[in-house]
């Protein structure tokens, strides 16, 4: 029987009104503006853009404000907004080789051409709380030096010259799009990369960490990590040519993994690849590790049954909006479902009790155990 229950409108309205008041907090404290969030919580903005799968810093900052800083709620808002946008088209694949780098490091070659450029990094900070930030002060200023050249050579290209690393086959195939077709398995690498780049940072990090710790051993070097600005170029159909219509900040990570060779391939290095919206280096490195772990079949490696090798497991659980939707729905009213379970448990207990009574008088009671399963 399905029972429709009405009511609760007033409670819901009042709950939302209180939510708005709590969001604002103490009115004696200045209200956060969207530009303040965009400029001063930019890494949070980056995460919302990456997992919301929509590059728009102002919109992500607004979502963070609306969500009171709950990142998954903010990502949810962006995903919902994204579905309302008509698709104008697709851009040409970004040329990360032409990136204007803010940061570019290699853990494999000390004297890499172009140099080790640290950029605005938390690395080498002492992770001590800086109480000076609690006081208002003058805006800090960075140092400057002779500008870097426009582009940086790609580290894996050096290994590629000697044939020491598995090459990437160039292609201009149209990649599948998980926002347009339902996910099917086996997914293939392009779909995996799309799912990973918008996947939950914590989940992808956990999967990557598991491979480092030995679940399908995958402990690569970061061949190169670069963060910077790339141009976005799209074909303008009504004009018949392509125009660079914007710029996005991306983080790219290329890992170099040892590969001892297979029956058909000589010993060489293999690659994992991460590319994420914004300055998101933990996510990009994690993505590269998981990408590499999921490539076991194409590289002829053994399936060790590790979670990070299981494409269906990883891709089905990487999306935090899907996950939280299913998880959080269990807090919504399930009165009728629960009522039926309650009745079942009461009946089973009554039957067991009855059977117990009759067992004492010589009967048996196995059927109640079966019924409970």
């Amino acid at each position: 029987m399905y029972v429709a229950v009405k009511g609760g409108e007033r409670a819901i309205d009042n709950a939302h009104a209180w939510l708005a008041e709590e969001r604002r907090g103490d009115p004696g404290v200045g209200e956060l503006t969207v530009p303040q969030i965009r400029e001063q919580l930019s890494l949070a903005v980056n995460r919302v853009m990456a997992e919301g799968s929509l590059y728009d810093p102002d919109l992500a900052a607004l979502a963070i404000k609306q969500a009171r800083g709950d990142m998954i709620e903010a990502i949810f808002l962006i995903r919902a907004y994204r579905t309302t946008l008509p698709r104008i088209g697709h851009a040409k694949p970004v040329d990360t080789g032409a990136m204007a780098c803010d940061r570019r490091i290699s853990a494999t070659f000390k004297d890499v051409p172009g140099g080790q450029v640290l950029g605005p990094t938390f690395d080498y900070t002492h992770r001590l709380i800086d109480f000076a930030l609690a006081a208002e002060g003058e805006a800090p200023r960075s140092e400057q030096a002779d500008p870097l050249p426009g582009t940086m050579p790609r580290v894996t290209e050096y290994l590629n010259l000697d044939g020491l690393i598995q090459p990437e086959a160039p292609s201009d195939d149209t990649p599948p799009d998980m926002t347009r077709q339902p996910m099917e398995f086996p997914a293939g690498r392009s779909l995996r990369l799309q799912a990973l780049t918008r996947g939950d940072e914590g989940f992808v990090l956990g999967m990557a960490y598991s491979t480092q710790r030995g679940y399908a051993k995958n402990h690569p070097f970061v061949g190169e990590l670069r963060i910077g600005t790339v141009a976005v170029e799209i074909d303008i159909p009504e004009l018949g040519f392509a125009v660079e219509i914007g710029e996005v900040v991306l983080t790219e990570c290329e890992t170099v993994n040892q590969f001892t060779g297979s029956k058909t391939e000589p010993a060489q290095f293999t690659r994992g690849y991460g590319l994420v919206f914004g300055q998101s280096e933990r996510k990009a490195i994690s993505m590269a590790l998981v990408d590499r772990a999921l490539r076991w079949a194409e590289l002829g490696e053994d399936n060790l049954g590790a979670p990070a090798q299981d494409e269906e497991f990883v891709l089905s659980h990487a999306d935090n909006i899907q996950a939280t939707g299913f998880l959080e729905h269990i807090k919504l009213p399930h009165y009728v479902d629960f009522q039926s379970e309650l009745e079942l448990v009461r009946r089973l207990r009554a039957e067991a009790q009855q059977a117990g009574t009759s067992a004492e008088s010589g009967g048996t009671a196995p059927q109640s155990v079966e019924a409970a399963e």
């Binding site: 590059y55 698709r87 870097l148 292609s171 219509i245």
Partner: protein, 151 residues
Amino acid sequence: MTGTTLDIEARKGWMSLLAKAPPARLASLFEEAGARPGFTWLRPPEVGGVMLRGRMGGTGAPFNMGEMTVTRCALKLATGEVGHGYVQGRDRAHAERAALVDALMQTGRADELRATVLAPLEAEALVARTSRAAKAAATRVDFFTMVRGED
């Protein structure tokens, strides 16, 4: 400049410059340049998404990354020139100004607009890019080797 002799490379250049310009800066330069022309919409500003793509390993097969907000519009000046605006983000006024400048660059006002709008935008974009590259350069590591004092 007429439609037939329109240099595509030059047009790509200014359309890109207008698209990447800070919207508030383009607005003030355009208002200063004065004489906003009459026009009719061919396509009023529309906000949509463009799917961005990357390549495996940076150079291999493409994959979809995620979308970017884009606003586009098309308009026709009273004198007949058609301007297109395609800009990143959701700023309809920005797309409209980009399309107006695109159209005006096909008229006798091209040189004037190049000097008053495009040249300052280009110079400022160069300063912004160079300043960022200079800050990055200051964080480049200079390795040095310790002499160990052995013969």
